[in-house]
Every structure is written in C-alpha cells, then in structure tokens.
Subunit: 222 residues, 2 copies
C-alpha cells in the first residue's frame, strides 16, 4: 500500500527529533523530503537516511521547498524558531495537514511549565497559519535520542486536532514510526502534552534517568 | 511508626475522590477527619470507613473544623466549589500543608482543556490561601471509582509543589493509598496533570473504557 502513504516533509529535519522521525519513516517506506535552513544541509542529512526497498530516496530542500513538495508537513523545530519557520512555510501549506511537534520550552528553565499566551504552541501554530491549514499536534513527549535508534520506545503519542480524520492520519504515521498514537481530543488539549514535556525533563533530572516517557493505561493496545 | 503519620483532614471527603482516599488512608492507619458541608454528613461517611488495628477511628466535621483539627489538609472538591471552600478553611491552615487535588473541569465540555487564568487550579489555590500556606497539588489523574475499591490502580501520581520536602510527604501519602507518586516539579507544573485529566476523560469516551490513567515510563518503581 505504498501509494497510500502521503509524501512527507520534515521541516527542521536535521534536528534531533526531525532526523529521528526521518530515519524511522524512511525505513517504513514513506517518501521523505528533509527541510532545513539550507538545501545543502538538508540534502546531506537525506543522503544518510535509509530507504525502504522500492521507495523513493529521501531528498533534501529548504524548509519552504520541502513544505511545497509534500502532502503532509511535520514541523520539528525549537519553540524559539516556530513563528519564523511557520512564516517560511505558510505560502506552501494551504489545505495541507501540518503536524506541529513544537514544545514551548523556555530556556533556561526548561523543566518549568511555561505555556504561551495562546494556551499552547499548537494553537499558536494554527493562528499563525490561519484557518485554511489543518493543524494537528503530536510527538511532544518522545525522547529524540531514542527515536534515532531502533529501540522500542516506551512512550505513547497523544494526538490533538479538531478533525478526527486528520488525527487518524497522524496516528498512522506514529504507527509507522513504531509509536502508539492515541486521540487526545481538540487542538486546545495540546497544552496537556506540551506541559508534560517540562515535567518529564524534570523527572529525568530528579530520578537521574534519560528518557522518561508516558503510557496511557487502561486502553487496549492499538 | 504510627506516630509519624500526620493527622489528615479530607475536605470534600464525602465526594467520590475524597471518600476513596479516606477509605484507603484509614485502612493504612492514618487518623482521618472527613470534612463536609455539614458535620452530620461527614460523621455518617466517617462511620462507614475502615480503621486499622490500634488506629484512631475516623471522625467527621465541617470542612473548617476538619482543617483546624488536622496537620495536613487534602482538598478534594469540584473546581466550581474550590474558591468558596478554600475561603472556609483559610483561617485554619496557616503554616499547614494543603494538598489540592482540584481539576479545572468546566462543564459541559469536561474533555476540553480549559485551564484557569492563573495557569492552574493549584496556583489559584496558592494565591487564594496566601504565601503562608504550603500548597502541593496531586492526585489529578486517578479515577475516583477505582480508588473506592481495593484494585491495584495503574496510574502514577504527579506531585507538584515548590518545596521538595513537602512533595515527599505527599508521595508518602500516595504510597499509603497504594499509588506511586513522582516529583513533578514546581507548583506551576500542575497545569500538565490538570490538563491531562480532560484528555483522559476524552480517551475514556473515544476508546470506550472507564478508567484510563497514566504511567511515567523509564523511571524505576519507587
């Protein structure tokens, strides 16, 4: 069912989280376009990705070009760059599904919950991109360094968005990255998972572990 | 070590969550004073609680009297009643540890995250009670109907507060109720667990289950 897979841009795809997704999703047969500030950097990262048998080789481009080329755009950028990078891709994502993974960490106190005035980075993204763009948020709590390996990750992915069908698409992408995605409700609910990331960072420090995650209990495996 | 256990008021102790805690903590040997709007209702609830061998029988009183009598005050009331009930206990909790379990659910859309202007119900409680009161928040995500039984509850308790020592006391109380408590960081971080409760309510509906909870993975059992 290769043909049913959307072509996926990973904006900020040379970062820790983005490159982890690129790796897992390329291996799962998705056609990937890595986006970065410069096309060269993106192409370099893309050249190091695996590719599934028979799948199109991952490519690299600027963030804007990657967004333009893709059906679904996954945004994995630091909170401090979110607004600027959304500006860059905005002309190219009308009607498309944009998966925002931004966590509103405010250095230096990244273990302290500091949600933005909009209530969440996801709602900020939706306002920034406008109503014509389908924003879903997800992947806030996954440890990037684990995503870059083949280990089984003990962390569920809460998926937020105002369209159930769009959340379903993201749950399918999570599954391809070997993560269990769960419907987390409306986009505003993203505040829960975004805030939780600061809590998990604190737990990593307090308990001297390096990849605390969450599981939703009481729900059968997807 | 019975003598080391603080005397515990459970304000709103005739409600679903409060009565579940009262039951488990009385069985664990804590001296419990149930607080309710009327002393009669509280006494009636207290008379139905178990008591550990050699422990003082649970008693009942008004919320204010219960708070006055206790060392540690657990507040388990609906969000809509929080401010009024904190007003009632405020004269009696100076210097005491108040554990606030309030979740800011706003009916009818209880599955929608709607954090208060203060950022969290916990910070609202701290502002309401003033700096002289040691506020810790916890127990936001535990299903009340499970607490009322003897089942093992598959849900961790994130404990938030600006004092590590006070969080430790609450983690000890959670343990007595047979729940794993974890340090969740500063009181402001309570927003994460409070928001998560709306997400869990939505998950219960979406997946047709009745007690979704959370586990923090990657941290060894306490």
């Amino acid at each position: 069912m290769q043909s049913a897979k959307p072509k996926l841009a990973i904006v900020g795809g040379t970062g820790a989280l983005g490159s982890g997704f690129a790796r897992r999703l390329a291996a799962a047969g998705y056609e990937i376009v890595i986006g970065s500030r410069t096309a060269e950097k993106a192409q370099e990262a893309a050249s190091q990705l695996p590719a599934a048998a028979g799948a199109v080789r991952p490519s690299g481009a600027t963030n804007a070009e990657a967004a333009q080329a893709a059906d679904v755009v996954l945004v994995t950028v630091p909170f401090g760059s979110q607004a600027q990078i959304l500006d860059e891709i905005k002309p190219h994502v009308a009607g498309k599904l944009v998966i925002d993974a931004t966590v509103p960490l405010v250095p230096p106190k990244v273990a302290r919950v500091q949600l933005p005035a909009e209530g969440s980075a996801a709602v900020a993204a939706q306002r920034h991109l406008g109503e014509g763009v389908r924003v879903v948020s997800a992947f806030h709590n996954v440890a990037a360094h684990k995503l870059q390996t083949d280990v089984e990750i003990e962390c569920d992915v809460l998926v937020f968005g105002d369209s159930t069908a769009d959340r379903d698409i993201v749950i399918e992408i999570a599954k391809a990255a070997r993560l269990r995605g769960l419907h987390g409700g409306a986009l505003v609910n993203s505040a829960a998972a975004e805030a939780l990331t600061s809590v998990l960072i604190g737990i990593n420090r307090t308990y001297k572990v390096d990849g605390a995650g969450i599981r939703i209990t009481g729900v059968l495996p997807a």
